[in-house]
Amino acid sequence: MNSAEDFVVLIRDEIGLPVTRADLELGFDQVPGWDSLHMLRLVTVLERETGRTISFPDVLQAQSLGSLYRLAVPA
């Protein structure tokens, strides 16, 4: 996974949510179809894709998909 675009595709293919780039910086409560329980699944997938361990306490405090992406792929 190399870009935010890849991240969007990953969410669409693995979670089934029809998100776009524009949704990444929305609060989770505004992402169509988002459920906090998708977070656990998404973290598992991100760790698999990046080969990195992501900090759970940080993940659980993330406010948007974008901040989750930045935790998984630090700049």
Binding site: I15, G16, L37
Partner: protein, 640 residues
């Protein structure tokens, strides 16, 4: 095509359907595709399928069977929904889940007015994890503390199962609690660890035994899933998200539940079709000869030997075995009769088919000869070509494609619990013999000019009598397994049959049959009920082995005579159409019933809603017992 190419195709197809938003419209393709997807990718597709709207899927596919599952338990359970969705979809079942609030299982199962009971689930899952116990241990703790808490939890599950039964619940599934190394290793003394393990496993054994006292309770043992090498938990998910069991363990648990769902939906598979070369033995009989095939000797021979033993084990429990092989028949027969190392013999198979016809044609012919639907077959072959062809021609047949290594055959065949039943009955153990007798009857039939001559020569004896305690399990099994001659397709667990048999207003009758070829056993059941001066036939079932011999008509007439003699003025009966029971649509009208047209509005609406056609018999003219059979009635000890 190699295995990998096939699998890539299936997962790509599913991915494409998802991206194009067509999973709902193309849901009928999902079951077949999921069988070609490797297990490690199932969670992904479970996630995608779990997002579909159940009602929209049903709008596109009205005949799609649905299983309602209520999920409650300890901790965060949401990850179970995608896992269950995928496993049920593999069985051709659509999950309608109801997820309980966090940690509400005691309330859900105790309060008869809870959302769980109002949902009226086919299955209720109460998912337990080790933290049910660990959260209640004092700090510091000893094995004696664990023993005390474990005893309390087993008693709790016992009480919950009782509440569940009293609230009219059908099937409740609980599970054993994995013992974590993170728990045992907190005890530094070897002796203490052994004590802890002892009290923990004793509690697990008591939990497993609760099923003996609660007919509606099923206890899933998680240890065999863990023994296959999946982690019990992910500490981060457990600590931070209270999801105490690992996704992999939940996937294994969901697989077990999938088999239970298949069973409660009445879709247990009945017949295992086995290829021979590369499946039951190594090598090619036609090329290598009987001496050259690998049956027991050598590394691969041992693996095939072990696989044959497992197949025989399945056959001994009522799974019909048939061989379907591209071979000449005579050499195959010779191996089955004479090869010194074969575990499986000719008599273990209900039929041995060895010819050069396409396998799907052989399978269709076999289904007809056995009077079974092809959707009750599981087909096992090591050839991707044969598997692909059967999948394409007969998508309703479950296809298990074996790999090249025979050591993996056992796991592949047992993976999905195809043949799961609640408990075995005497019928199961003798099933192969009965079906073989049936095939002999058909050969006998072809020697007569008319069906009447044949039936007369068959010397059928029918016994119709009040169900006995020993027959309850078999009658329940008939309601669960019978799809064709099943007028309302009401599925009943043993506890339901017991309840009806014990009710003063109901009459549960068992039909037993025998003829010159042997004993057919308990082949049918009649559910009758009386209210005032009207009798009601709630259901009428007959095993597909014995259709069209006059048995059904004779038994129906006997029940009508009984109704008339006990003062009933008319008998009403319903037919609820399903995908499988069209052949009995005319059963009641052919036997003197008339469809009721002028019903009162409420009753008409209710019948319409249930899709039931209601018929009425005025009891003025009741058919005689057909001359070709002898009927013995035993309505003793019954009032209705």
């Amino acid at each position: 095509m190699t295995d990998t190419e096939l699998a890539t195709t299936a997962q790509d197809t599913l991915g494409r359907l998802n991206r194009e938003g067509r999973l709902t419209a193309e849901y009928h393709l999902v079951q077949g595709l999921l069988h070609e997807v490797p297990d490690e990718l199932l969670p992904r597709f479970g996630q995608l399928l779990a997002r579909l709207d159940v009602d929209e899927v049903l709008a596109h596919h009205p005949a799609q069977p649905v299983v309602r599952i209520a999920i409650t338990g300890h901790g965060t359970l949401a990850a179970l929904v995608p896992a269950l969705t995928a496993e049920l979809a593999r069985h051709g079942l659509l999950l309608r889940p109801q997820l309980a609030d966090f940690d509400s299982y005691v309330f859900d199962l105790t309060d008869p007015d809870s959302e769980l009971y109002r949902f009226a689930p086919d299955l209720a899952l109460c998912l337990l994890d080790p933290f049910v116990v660990l959260d209640e241990l004092p700090v510091p703790w000893s094995p004696a503390d664990a023993e005390r808490v474990l005893a309390a939890k087993v008693a709790l599950v016992d009480r919950l199962a009782t509440s569940f039964e009293q609230a009219g619940g059908k099937t409740l599934v609980v599970n054993t609690l994995p013992l974590l190394r993170e728990t045992t290793a907190q005890l530094v003394a070897d002796r203490s660890r052994a004590q802890l393990a002892a009290v923990w496993h004793e509690a697990a054994a008591r939990l497993l035994r609760l099923g003996e006292r609660h007919p509606g309770l099923l206890v899933v043992d998680l240890d065999p899933i863990l023994a296959d090498g999946v982690p019990a938990r992910d500490p981060r998910m457990s600590v931070y998200a209270k999801a105490h069991l690992s996704p992999q363990l939940l996937a294994g648990y969901a697989r077990e539940v999938g088999a239970v769902a298949r069973e409660v939906a009445g879709r247990t598979r009945k017949c295992l079709l086995l290829d021979l070369d590369g499946t039951l033995w190594g090598g090619i009989l036609g090329d290598d000869g009987a001496e050259g095939i690998e049956v027991a000797d050598g590394y691969r021979g041992e693996a095939f030997h072990r696989f044959q033993q497992v197949v025989k084990q399945l056959g001994s429990q009522g799974v019909l075995l048939a061989a379907v092989s591209k071979n000449d028949l005579e050499p195959v027969r010779q191996v089955l009769r004479e090869h010194p190392d074969m575990v499986l013999r000719e008599e273990d198979f209900v039929r041995v088919i060895a010819n050069w016809q396409p396998k799907h044609d052989n399978i269709k012919a076999l289904a007809q000869a056995l009077n079974l639907g092809t959707d009750s077959f599981v087909f096992v072959d090591d050839s991707p070509y044969e598997c692909g062809l059967v999948r394409r021609e007969l998508p309703e047949v479950a296809v298990v494609q074996l790999g090249q290594d025979p050591a993996q055959h056992v796991g592949a065949v047992l993976r999905d619990g195809w043949f799961a039943v609640r408990e075995l009955t005497g019928e199961d153990r003798g099933r192969t013999v009965k079906y073989r007798e049936e095939l002999a009857r058909q050969d006998f039939l072809t020697s007569f000019s008319s069906i009447e001559d044949y039936l007369r020569e068959l010397r059928i004896e029918v016994r119709l009598g009040t169900v006995t305690a020993e027959q309850i399990a078999r009658v329940s099994q008939l309601t669960l397994r019978t799809n064709q001659f099943n007028l309302t397709t009401t599925r009943l667990q043993a506890a339901d049959v017991s309840r009806l048999a014990g009710s003063p207003d109901h009459l549960v009758l068992a039909i037993q049959a025998a003829d010159r070829f042997g004993d057919n056993g308990l082949v049918g059941a009649v559910f009758y009920r009386r209210e005032g001066d009207t009798g009601y036939l709630d259901n009428f079932l007959l095993s597909c082995r014995v259709f069209s011999r006059g048995i059904e008509g004779a038994c129906l007439a006997a029940v009508l005579r009984h109704a008339r003699d006990s003062g009933v003025r008319a008998v009403e009966a319903g037919y609820r159409p399903t995908a499988k029971n069209a052949k009995v649509k005319a059963f009641y009208p052919r036997n003197g019933f008339v469809e009721i047209a002028d019903r009162d509005a409420d009753a008409a609406v209710a019948a319409e809603r249930d899709g039931v056609t209601v018929f009425r018999h005025e009891l003025t003219e009741i058919a005689e017992t057909p001359a070709n059979l002898r009927l013995t009635e035993n309505f003793e000890g019954m009032r209705p």
